[in-house]
């Protein structure tokens, strides 16, 4: 029984690991292949099954004039938009969440929980519903095809995540902490900044992580709201596709695009292993 349990446990771990890691390995090897090694039958091991070359990678940094695709600019655009929108969302989201957690609001039948739900409901809607309003809105203020416009839209998309996570987190920070800070002589703003906020860093990290992930992977709105002036990474990667699919450079760009998230995951994982975040995620 016990042995069977151990066997099953490791069996599933192995299956799951293969499931997660295999696509990465496959993309990694593919990125070093050329036309022949991709289309001429299945090849697995570099230097044995095929001769690796850097063509797929070089294309990514070469300018379009020399036949490349140059993902460097979209890469930094994506980073800029994601980080700025996440930062603003976290700041606004944290402030709203604190208010929603600590003060009682009432407008007719609308109460705190309804307001919180309103924020979350923005993410329940299929994004396509929002595409036309966003398009018209951005075009009316002349922000179509611009980084600023994208940041505005991403704040709308990311702030509900920040509010949702932070309301939950602040609800778990005992009210007595605020009260103690008031008793110790802080005004409500100092109490929030000096006492509550430092205690909420784990929550901020989780919220930040989710904002960055959802901002970084968004293709849909970047695709609809930008044309030629500005391009974000997911759109650029899709644009790589042509009549002959360049699997090697697609694989290379896919790896490059997940790299920042892997780094974020490692940073957050360090907090996780310290046990600092356990309360924040539960």
């Amino acid at each position: 029984m016990n042995k069977l349990y151990i066997f099953l446990k490791y069996f599933f771990i192995v299956v799951w690991t293969v499931f997660v890691v295999a696509p990465f390995l496959w993309a990694l090897t593919t990125s070093f292949k050329d036309f022949q090694s991709v289309n001429g039958g299945v090849t697995y091991i570099p230097w044995v099954d095929f001769e690796p070359n850097l063509e797929g990678w070089k294309v990514l940094v070469k300018s379009p004039a020399k036949g490349g695709v140059d993902i460097i600019e979209p890469y930094f655009n994506s980073m800029f938009v994601t980080c700025t929108a996440s930062l603003i969302s976290i700041i606004l989201g944290t402030l709203s969440a604190y208010a929603l957690s600590r003060y009682t609001f009432k407008a007719g039948f609308v109460k705190n929980n309804d307001i919180t739900f309103f924020f979350i409901s923005q993410r329940i809607m299929p994004p396509i519903v929002l595409s036309i309003p966003f398009f018209l809105f951005l075009s009316s203020i002349n922000l179509l095809d611009s980084l600023t416009g994208l940041i505005v839209v991403y704040i709308v998309l990311l702030m509900p995540i920040a509010v949702w996570i932070m309301v939950d987190f602040f609800n778990k920070v005992p009210r007595e902490i605020d009260e103690t800070a008031l008793i110790d002589g802080c005004n409500p703003y100092q109490a929030f900044l000096k006492v509550v906020l430092p205690n909420s860093i784990p929550g901020l990290i989780v919220a930040g992580m989710f904002c960055i992930i959802f901002g970084w992977i968004d293709f849909f709105f970047a695709f609809i709201l930008t044309f030629t002036e500005v391009q974000l990474l997911p759109v650029k990667i899709v644009a790589l596709n042509s009549s002959v699919t360049p699997w090697w450079s697609l694989s290379a760009s896919a790896l490059v695009s997940v790299a920042p998230l892997i780094i974020v995951a490692f940073i957050v994982e360090r907090y996780l292993s310290k046990g600092n975040l356990s309360g924040a995620i539960k």
Partner: protein, 357 residues
């Protein structure tokens, strides 16, 4: 440090309702500077509301609060210079012990040297000196509670330190030590301490004044001795003391005696102005002894059980349909059959409508 006056304070959580429910019925009270007060009562009786009104976390629906004759009712918590310790230790997790203790001074712009001096002195009193530089979250629950307390004591001029069941999370033996600590602190710093608890032992051993509350009402305020010997209401008699006060439904039979099961008990209370004849006689089990050679106020009882509780014996006996409890010394020989108990007249309390006459 201040004298605190609560004048006609009342509080309701739905004051605009046509029939407001009062969490705290109107009362007035003065807390003298440097004394130790305990607010005692069962859960949900309004103790915490009272404390929060004093600290300013709750604004009373009516009445004024005065610190040293200065009206602070409309003052915000942070401007009242009050300290409050909650049931569970509230510490600033991200700071060291030193930073925790220094926080109230930092908020009030004290100089670095003054802060140093105060923090070190308080840390000394609370035995926290060796932890000053450790992160506060690494400490044990009782040490954390000491930090909460220390934040209250670090300000010399604090009006009062309010404690809301501060020792709930702490081991019994440590509780005893901390309570003694608190007394010493009170004597050393002459800080007014207000201590909320539902544990009568805690209240009796800690405070020199106890305020007993029940259902939003201040039922009695007085020294432990007063509360013990002359409870104002049957509730106080029942709530304070272990075992609770013996209470017997009885009937007035003359100007100073009552009848329980046809036994006449003389009291020192004047019963000539009674409105109804059905009254209650209350007597502490501590004052009931086995009759030696007295010839009045004797009741005949059947001993049901005798418990040896270490420093005393507790006799539980039946007198008609009443249960009577008596505390006697361990050395007392207790006959197993019928015995006579003596109820001293001067210790009898007579209650009409559950209120002391």
């Amino acid at each position: 440090m201040a004298k605190i006056d609560l004048s006609n304070i009342s509080h309701s959580y739905n004051p605009n309702d046509p029939n407001p429910v009062f969490a705290l019925n109107p009362f007035s009270m003065t807390w003298e500077n440097g004394n130790r007060y305990a607010i005692l009562g069962p859960s949900g009786c309004g103790k915490t509301t009272m404390l929060n009104i004093v600290s300013g976390l709750v604004r009373p629906s009516a009445g004024r609060i005065l610190f040293d004759n200065k009206d602070v009712t409309d003052l915000k918590t942070e401007d009242r210079n009050i300290a409050q310790v909650f049931q569970f230790p509230v510490i600033y997790n991200t700071m060291t012990v030193y930073e925790n203790l220094a926080f109230p001074l930092k908020c009030r712009d004290f100089s670095k040297s003054k802060t140093d001096e105060r923090v070190n002195s308080v840390a000394e009193t609370l035995n926290l000196k060796s932890f000053l530089n450790s992160p506060a979250r690494k400490l044990t629950a009782d040490q954390k509670q000491l930090i909460s307390l220390g934040r209250g004591l670090v300000r010399e001029d604090v009006a009062a330190v309010l404690m809301d069941e501060p020792l709930t999370v702490i081991d019994p033996d440590l509780k005893f030590r901390l309570r003694r600590n608190l007394k010493e602190i009170n004597e050393q710093y002459k800080t007014t301490l207000v201590y909320v608890t539902h544990d009568q032992n805690e209240a009796m051993t800690f405070a020199d004044n106890i305020i007993v509350m029940s259902e939003g009402e201040v039922v009695q305020a007085g020294s432990p001795k007063e509360l013990f010997e002359r409870p104002n209401t049957t509730f106080v008699g029942y709530f304070i003391g272990s075992p609770a006060m013996n209470l017997f439904e009885s009937e007035a039979s003359s100007n100073d005696s009552v009848k329980i099961n046809n036994t006449l008990i003389k009291t020192n209370t004047n019963l000539s102005n009674l409105k109804n004849k059905n009254i209650k006689l209350g007597i502490r089990s501590e004052f009931i002894k086995i009759a030696q050679n007295q010839n009045e106020n004797l009741v005949e009882v059947n001993v049901e059980k005798v418990e040896d509780l270490g420093n005393y014996k507790l006799i539980t006996a039946k007198m008609g349909n009443f249960i009577i409890k008596s505390k006697v010394t361990r050395e007392t020989e207790i006959p197993t059959q019928n015995i006579k108990l003596h109820i001293p007249a001067e210790k009898c309390c007579v209650y009409e409508d559950n209120k002391l006459i």
